[in-house]
């Protein structure tokens, strides 16, 4: 297994963990308010659709699209996704944007589901739809990452396995503790994955266009190091520009730097 494959699997695993935590919050809110059967059916249906999408889009991409064109395309997608995750991470870490708060999202979703007093039979359609939409929408970004990273290196199987492992682990922990995973340092994971996606994106855009990076695949860890340093510098600079209340909160933030929104 090459270093590029290991980094690819770590990136997919991290991205999938973040999205799975977000999806789990919605499924738990749906399950506890509208019944577990519908929530589980909605979740299973969404996972099947996402799996079919990976097979239906990913496999033809690998077999029929020229590798260089594919690398530019997926590199461009990864760049947009990675830079946008990094931008959010910098704004959140420097106090310019509220942190992603699973507790607040859980409470909000529960309240919204409880307000709807529709007739609840053995199958609750609202519970099904909320769980399906939550898992499907959170999963779409993961599908794009799995297809992009997997197809560009012809490692669709490895990328899918890393994504599936993340879903299984997050679900198992969620079921074990029976609540939303607000303690997961989601913002930190998102920062790390953003750095990886940006690095992969830039690497593949270059390779696809005909630029040969020094050291070939070894350029990826170097790019990761560069973007990690840039992110740290950007956060430090932006912190000095943070509004006064946010700056005082930054001092008492935990490991995740979670700031009450």
């Amino acid at each position: 297994m090459t270093s590029a494959t290991i980094i690819l699997m770590l990136a997919v695993f991290g991205a999938c963990c973040v999205e799975a935590v977000e999806a789990l919050t919605i499924v738990l809110a749906s399950g506890t308010t509208r019944g577990w059967r519908s929530a589980m059916e909605g979740t299973a249906a969404a996972l099947v659709v996402l799996g079919v999408l990976v097979g239906a889009v990913g496999v033809p991409l690998i077999h029929y699209v020229p590798i260089d064109a594919l690398r530019v395309l997926v590199g461009a997608l990864l760049l947009v996704l990675g830079l946008s995750w990094l931008r959010k991470a910098i704004l959140r870490a420097s106090g310019h944007k509220a942190k992603h708060d699973e507790d607040a999202i859980y409470a909000e979703t529960r309240a919204s589901l409880q307000r709807d007093r529709g007739v609840r039979g053995r199958r609750d359609s609202l519970g099904f739809v909320v769980a399906f939409k939550g898992v499907f929408l959170e999963g779409m970004e993961v599908v794009l990452i799995v297809i992009s990273l997997g197809a560009s290196q012809h490692k669709l199987g490895d990328a899918s396995a890393a994504a599936a492992a993340a879903v299984v682990i997050v679900t198992a922990i969620g079921l074990l503790v029976s609540r939303q995973l607000s303690e997961v340092p989601e913002n930190t994971i998102k920062t790390v994955v953003g750095i990886m996606l940006t690095s992969f994106g830039l690497f593949w855009v270059g390779e696809g266009a005909g630029v040969h990076w020094p050291g070939s695949d070894l350029a990826i860890p170097v790019l990761i190091g560069i973007f990690a340093s840039v992110t740290a510098v950007a956060v430090a600079i932006m912190k000095t520009q943070a509004p006064a209340p946010a700056r005082s909160q930054l001092g008492s933030a935990g490991a995740d730097g979670r700031v009450a929104s």
Partner: protein
């Protein structure tokens, strides 16, 4: 049937618009510029490996700075 198809097409288009452009059109433009520069510099390896990361860094800083300004403007508006 047609109505459903239109609704699905609109949702599909909306998803891609949100994903690629959303509230950060500058990052979409930066991606296009990076792809263009990569092709333009494909025969000049040294320039490409220096300029491509630099451009991505500039785009990231510019977008984060724009986000900061927008947040501050929104906060000022709410205060007023």
């Amino acid at each position: 049937m047609t109505e459903t198809l239109v609704r699905w097409t609109k949702a599909f288009g909306h998803f891609w618009w949100d994903f690629l452009v959303g509230d950060t059109p500058e990052l979409f433009v930066a991606m296009l510029v990076l792809v263009g520069v990569a092709f333009a510099l494909r025969h000049d390896r040294v320039a490409a490996v220096v300029i491509l990361p630099l451009l991505a860094i500039v785009a990231l800083f510019a977008s984060a700075w724009r986000g900061r300004v927008r947040t501050q403007k929104r906060a000022a508006k709410e205060e007023a």
